[in-house]
């Protein structure tokens, strides 16, 4: 397989995974208005748990280092476990930060949780092998089914990613275009009004926070099963805001916009700048990239807050209104 094709397949895999991330963050912020400033922590927890669940038992003094679990779980089970782990972390964070009707308290909580989890994962070597991280995560189905070389494995893994991404898309769309999604958007617009109409704000925000985190955890699981390794340098602060920038650029509240954002920011921008080298210290390009992402976020909310593809307007077809009979099956929103 040629190097270019190999590279393009890698990009396609990351494109699919970043779309899943963006849909999840969109459920947090775009739909519900929850400020999650540590989205990547949910990705990381999903990745770590999926990784150590898929790996074999840690060998004392072995090459793979120390880690928990080591259950040898097969593919569809390990990412599910990653999603569950991220959901549990979200429930804990939400319990602390979502009970008050103040969006800044949750934002503060996420910033603090992000740093603490990073610190603990790095220092507590017994969890996920500390700063060195886990490595040797098996590729899904490869040893049991495909027996492919690392290069050849690209195509089957891309198919796996596309299947997972398709399911994630369907779930995200169902949530967005349902009474549930409508209630989340109402909470985003004015939580007092939603409460005055009998909606339990805490329950809705909590469930949206957990669901968004599951998207992160599953995406993280795909990442770790693709790369095969994961350590704290892979989920720095910048990673969270790459997803934020993707969401804001694509168009908050719009799942199609998330696909575009995932293409424009993490795939196109980050990859295009990877090949630029400028003289200076080793982190210079990385720093400039961070500046650009930060500036991009500010400029988008300043000059085009709705993003490239704005949230779509739901228009209802009146001919589908039933005369108190339940005959019509497709009275839901159509695109306007």
């Amino acid at each position: 397989m040629g190097a270019i094709i190999y590279y393009l397949l890698t990009l396609a895999i990351f494109f699919a995974i970043y779309s899943i991330y963006a849909w999840g963050l969109n459920i947090h912020f775009g739909l519900t208005g929850i400020l999650d400033f540590t989205y990547i922590t949910f990705v990381a927890i999903g990745a770590y748990f999926a990784g150590v669940a898929a790996m074999g038992h840690a060998q004392p003094m072995g090459m793979g280092g120390e880690y928990i679990l080591g259950w040898n779980l097969p593919f569809p089970v390990s990412p599910v476990l990653g999603g569950i782990a991220a959901a549990i972390l979200a429930a804990l964070v939400g319990f602390v930060g979502l009970r008050r009707l103040r969006s800044d308290y949750l934002a503060i909580t996420t910033v603090a949780v992000g740093q603490i989890v990073w610190l603990v994962v790095g220092n507590q070597t017994s969890l996920f092998n500390g700063w060195d991280g886990i490595s040797g995560v098996p590729q899904p189905f490869n040893s049991s089914l495909f027996h492919l070389s690392y290069n050849q494995y690209q195509i089957p893994f891309l198919v796996i990613c596309l299947i997972v991404a398709f399911i994630a898309w369907r779930v995200a769309e169902s949530l967005t275009e349902s009474p549930y999604g409508r209630i989340l958007r109402a909470i985003r617009e004015d939580e007092a009004v939603a409460a005055a109409l009998g909606k339990d704000i805490f329950r809705y925000r909590m469930s949206a926070f957990i669901i968004g985190a599951i998207f992160a955890g599953v995406g993280g699981a795909l990442t770790v099963e693709y790369i095969g390794a994961f350590n704290p340098s892979g989920w720095g602060v910048l990673e969270t805001f790459i997803v934020w920038a993707a969401m804001l650029v694509g168009g908050q509240g719009n799942n199609r916009g998330m696909i575009l954002g995932a293409f424009l920011v993490p795939v196109l921008f980050t990859e295009a700048t990877r090949f630029i080298t400028i003289p200076g210290h080793p982190l210079l390009m990385e720093s400039i990239r961070g500046m650009a992402i930060g500036l991009l976020m500010v400029l988008v909310v300043r000059y085009r807050p709705q993003g490239v593809i704005p949230e779509r307007k739901r228009v209802y077809r009146l001919n589908l209104i039933s005369q108190e009979t339940e005959d019509s099956a497709h009275g839901h929103a159509v695109e306007g």
Binding site: F37, D104, A112, L238, P282, S287, G290, L295, R302
Partner: protein, 293 residues
């Protein structure tokens, strides 16, 4: 547990509390007047620390002179930050949630900007004052006594400002209700600008003393300290400067005393635990609720 270790921890705690008091008062004053959390505040600390580094190492100024000058320069940075970045949003009454996104975006921008300019490696000031003094059974270096003295002086100055100056009274009025303040003829835009100057000055100062206290620092200095500042601010009741001073004292001492008994890399976990407990049980802060400030 030995009592002397607790006592030693209290000594270190007073220094951390001093650093924390400067920074959390700077953050909480700005919140009180503008009513949104500045997630880029950690970068005011970082910018202050690196400005002092340039003055101290590049221009060979005395560290304390450098500190004061860096505080003033950071005040100007904060003032510009408000005018260039924040005001376009507040002018059109952007919702708070958008302002928070803007400040966190700027946090990323400024942190990486400092890193682009100075590189990721550790930096250190040139400061000869190393002799050790005994004060009431505690051991301090001359540097550390300076830090405590500077923080104490700054707190007295903030108190005097709030209590006796026209600016301080206007700030308190805006903190209670910015609409009422506007109606009663207070020039709210100008007061807001003064508050950003003050917030930047205190942030810059605290960045320098933080850098002195931890000995060597990187561009992550401020952003890593930010949630410790949040812990102190929320403990004292967000927007309340005297509360922030108290919160800083409690959290500073708690962190350093715990570091005497546990792995010191975990001392921020103590601040985190306090933050979580406050959010769960007393999000309005430990002081009895009355009018803010």
């Amino acid at each position: 547990m030995s009592l002397s270790m607790v006592w030693l921890g209290v000594g270190f705690g007073l220094i951390t509390a001093s650093v924390l008091a400067l920074s959390s008062v700077g953050l909480t004053l700005q919140f009180g007047v503008t009513n949104f959390v500045n997630f880029a505040y950690g970068e005011f600390l970082t910018i202050g620390a690196y400005l002092a580094f340039v003055l101290n190492m590049g221009l060979h100024l005395n560290i304390w002179v450098s500190m004061f000058a860096a505080g003033i320069l950071t005040a100007v940075v904060a003032w510009l930050f408000n005018i260039i970045v924040i005001e376009p949003f507040t002018r059109r009454k952007a919702p708070m949630i958008i302002l928070l996104v803007v400040t966190i975006g700027m946090d990323l921008f400024l942190m990486n900007g400092v890193q682009a300019l100075f590189g990721p490696e550790f930096k250190q000031y040139n400061d000869p004052s190393g002799s050790i003094l005994h004060v009431g059974g505690l051991l301090f270096t001359v540097q550390q006594l300076w830090i405590i003295g500077i923080a104490a002086a700054a707190m007295v100055a903030v108190h005097t400002l709030l209590k006796y100056s026209k600016l301080g009274k206007a700030m308190r009025a805006m903190s209670d209700s910015s609409e009422l303040a506007l109606i009663s003829g207070i020039p709210t835009r100008r007061i807001t600008q003064y508050v950003w100057l003050l917030s930047g000055f205190l942030g810059g100062l605290s960045g320098v003393v933080l850098a002195i206290n931890v000995n060597n620092f990187t561009p992550a200095l401020g952003s890593e300290f930010l949630f410790v500042i949040f812990a102190a601010v929320i403990m004292g009741g967000i927007g309340r400067p005297y509360g922030a001073m108290l919160g800083a004292l409690i959290i500073g001492v708690a962190m350093e005393v715990s570091a005497m008994f546990f792995d010191s890399s975990y001392k921020t976990v103590v601040a985190f635990a306090i933050l979580v407990l406050m959010l769960l049980f007393r999000p309005q802060g430990i002081l009895p609720s009355r009018g803010r400030v």
